[in-house]
Amino acid sequence: MKSQINARNVVVALVALGLLLLPLYSALTGNIFILTLFTRIVIFALAAASLNLIMGYGGMMSFGHAAYLGIGGYAVGILAHEGIGSGFIQWPVALALSALYALVIGALSLRTRGVYFIMITLAFAQMAYYIASGLSRYGGDDGLTIYKRSTFGGLIDLSNRVQFYYLCLACLFGGVYLIWRIINSRFGMVVQGVRSNEQRMQAIGFHANRYRLVCFVISGTICGLAGALLANNTDFISPAGMYWTRSGELMVMVVFGGMGSLFGPVLGTIVFLLLEEVLSQFTEYWALIMGPLLLLIVLFARGGIMGLLGRLSRA
């Protein structure tokens, strides 16, 4: 049995502790900005973790994950616009719609493999993007302002920064725990088996595509939750948030952190969004550095941050 104390686990534990204690730091120093920044980071980490479930464990390279962020967000936004402010209605609707969308496009997309799968998920996400632009009643291209965050009958107040942060963090930890349980279950083993050798799994009697599809739907539903959180965080939802570059950013976060590792996407999201924040403070042209950096990471740092930490602990 390998020792549990290695660089990888220590870093993960420290990051988790840091995320838990962040509001304390923010309250002590009066630095509110860092809390809002990290609320955003935590939400995106949840989205990246959900993408990692299908990319890292399922071998399905979805280039359309931003669609779920949009669907979850629009479910909250449209219901709020129509006067239904209760989160007990908004959020289940957001999850159900994301799951339904994932079921439909998953059933169609999973007929293809490889780069065709990347392209067809992208095409469906673009379709969702254009549907959102066509919603003239809800702002069309200009987007929709959400005047009131979801209410949970006095249970929790989303307008309170600290409470909202802890809700997002709870969703993130809950999501990661769920993914951990999934990948270690019999179902998760089959999904990973299909990724490694589909023919063999078929031959021993598993209906590969059914397992893939269920995994795809679970991932989409979790990402829909992230979308509902994100809409509450920004008090605004627009088609721009589900453009294909957003899907690309989510993929970058996953690969940054290390695809197919449980906490990798969380670290990847933290590093990516912090880097974006820091670079944009230095220079308006942050992408001038971020772009080539991404190229270098792909070329030289396989396995992302988790891979790097893994090599550190072996050394």
Binding site: R111, I118, S133, M251, A287
Partner: protein
């Protein structure tokens, strides 16, 4: 009727433009098995180069020729410095690396040319309307796009199907290792094909520039369209790309032109004018989804590897 003729020509013109972009993409994809998201950036660079050089030289023709050369060189440099290290890697790696290049190019353009768009004014001799059939006038510039693009398509066909280099390209598409083993300098061939693809993308960009404004991100929307086209047509197939490009160009243009009126018969006027562009954009993705579901390899799949 007149409107229909004019819009069909517009559709044809847009389709041919898309073909120029898609041809480079499908060549690179088919031969090197390389997904290049930065292809749209080369399209954008072509337009920016053209706007700059035309303003410098005060000559439209000289300017666009220089822009074409500059995009070709840029493509070759890009391949040489970065992209050749990504051949044979996972498609995901290629997607991410070239996604990084898009970020880089967008900000580089913003740094050099500023955030506001440029415009590429046409010379007087290209702005006159031409009478194509009695009573039907069509802008000379759009007509010249159709002529140039058709000529390039024909040239591409001749080069790929009738010359030695084209034979090597086709051989590379069906079996890379084999033509390498037969003593062909495959690295040089790849660089050449990539440069050719870049020049085609640049040509599409600079020809589109006088019609739309030259702006940051102009390559992204159209890149996705080009991907849709090569997926519909079958990856690696130039013939498929040509057919699919014309098809997509027609659907997009005719949809935008006639859907609003069509929708107005069932919807309120305001709702129709918002829903129509969205719906006509969606039509293309719907088409791709249907094609992929029915024929997962595209309509004209290239030879099996």
């Amino acid at each position: 009727m007149l409107v229909l003729v004019e819009q069909s020509l517009n559709g044809l013109q847009f389709g041919l433009l898309l073909f120029l972009l898609a041809a480079g993409l499908t060549l690179v994809f088919g031969i090197m098995d390389f997904v290049n998201l930065a292809h749209g950036s080369l399209y954008m660079m072509g337009a920016y180069f053209a706007a700059t050089f035309v303003a410098w030289t005060n000559s439209f023709v000289l300017g666009i020729l220089m822009a074409l050369g500059a995009t070709l060189l840029l493509g070759i440099a890009l391949e040489f410095i970065a992209l050749r290290h990504l051949y044979g890697r996972d498609h995901l790696d290629q997607v991410l690396a070239t996604f990084g290049l898009i970020l880089f190019f967008n900000d580089a353009v913003r740094l050099i040319w500023g955030p506001a768009g440029l415009s590429l004014p046409l010379p007087a001799w290209l702005t006159v309307p031409v009478q194509i059939v009695p009573g039907v006038f069509y802008p000379a510039y759009r007509l010249s796009i159709i002529v140039v693009a058709l000529a390039v398509a024909a040239l591409l066909y001749v080069v790929v199907m009738r010359t030695r280099i084209g034979m090597l390209i086709r051989a590379g598409a069906s079996n890379r290792e084999m033509i390498g083993a037969l003593g062909i300098n495959i690295k040089l061939l790849f660089t050449l094909v990539f440069g050719l693809g870049a020049a085609l993308a640049g040509l599409a960009g600079l020809m589109q520039a006088p019609i739309l404004t030259v702006q940051i991100g102009m390559g992204e929307n159209i890149l996705i369209l080009a991907f849709v086209i090569i997926v519909i047509g079958g990856i690696g197939s130039i013939r498929g790309a040509f057919m699919a490009a014309i098809f997509v160009g027609m659907i997009d243009t005719l949809g935008r032109a006639f859907l609003p009126d069509l929708l107005r018969t069932v919807l309120s006027s305001a709702a129709a004018s918002t829903a129509a562009p969205a719906l006509s954009s969606m039509l293309i993705y719907l088409l791709m989804a249907i094609v992929l579901v029915v024929r997962p390899e595209g309509l004209f799949p290239a030879a099996k590897r």
